[in-house]
Symmetry: C2
Subunit: 201 residues, 2 copies
């Protein structure tokens, strides 16, 4: 039986609540209550200087997790045909976006410009996703121009991102299952890459 430190519990519950209700809408008392402390007591301030410092700590923890996921992903690169590679990468990218969903929700309308840390972290996230898909596209379509590779990867990443966002906004009805979505995503991209490799037959 391991005791989770209060500081960690505060970060976990805070990020969950920020994600659900937004940064401003979540009060310090609520976070304390969720972490098992007396709501309204300033107990939180013995671990963090301010509410925003707590958010920064949450961002840093998320950044570490992302790096871990990226390390693991390197083990599964380039083993198989185009569709298999695309499917594996698609699963990885979806998992990353899911893991960072808290980010996205908070960044969408959190402190916004008040917290440059958020926009920086988000830009780095998108850049990484984009680079991964662009690398795969370039490997399987060696004679595709660089700017076309870029366009393909942007559309591909944004499709995944949009799918997650639409779910996030409560569009459960018209969305399809993850498996079907990823299957179609793979089909569409492989179709495009294959056709670009053989321009006219």
């Amino acid at each position: 039986m391991i005791e989770v430190p209060t500081r960690e519990r505060l970060i976990t519950e805070a990020m969950r609540l920020f994600c659900e209700q937004g940064y401003r809408a979540t009060s310090v008392a609520q976070i304390e209550a969720a972490a098992g402390l007396a709501p309204g007591s300033g107990a939180l301030y013995h671990h963090f200087k301010s509410k925003e410092a707590l958010l920064d700590a949450g961002i840093d923890r998320q950044l570490d997790r992302r790096q871990s996921m990226r390390d693991i992903r390197m083990l599964f690169r380039g083993v198989g045909d185009l569709r298999t590679d695309l499917t594996l990468l698609g699963r990885y990218l979806t998992a990353v976006i899911d893991e960072e969903q808290q980010f996205l929700t908070i960044a969408a309308n959190g402190p916004g410009s008040q917290s440059p840390r958020l926009t920086t972290a988000y830009a780095a996230l998108l850049h990484g996703l984009h680079a991964d898909l662009a690398e795969l596209t370039g490997n399987w379509g060696p004679n595709i121009p660089a700017d076309e590779v870029e366009a393909i990867s942007v559309v591909g990443i944004n499709a995944l991102l949009g799918n997650r966002v639409s779910i996030l906004l409560g569009a459960h009805k018209q969305s399809i299952s993850d498996d079907r979505f990823l299957s179609e995503w793979t089909k569409m991209l492989s179709c495009r890459i294959e056709k670009a490799t053989t321009p006219d037959s």
Copy 2:
């Protein structure tokens, strides 16, 4: 010289501020100041019962605009080849999402579950976009199974949505121009639809 009624100015400025800073972060005083009234005075409450009633009024106005755009779009259906139709629809869908961007930002982390009106309006928006693309896909690929048509349209819509969202979140760097994006989006979808029409040659 037409005098814009105070009520309309209040709605316009409120939606703009909600979009920039979020619903909760925007104070009534700020809205009053933006509309040319004395900040802090309750002048706003002579036009709206509460701050949330103001948001509802903004939502209703947006719904009317959407209906207008939809009426216009009906004039441009099904004239040309697959790519032309896709490009026209893509421009229309992008325009709709842009017009509703205020929605998206507010819905992403506004009152959330507090305001069922927002989620309803957003679900209706996505449903309309999805139906448009599904209809086009079905028309140009008559022998594609219905569930495949659905998957294609979901991926297509989410790509557009994700593109707008990523811009919205401040990812100006890795994003490409609208023209290049729409061009690639058209290529990818037409490629997919054409291939599905002729399964194996």
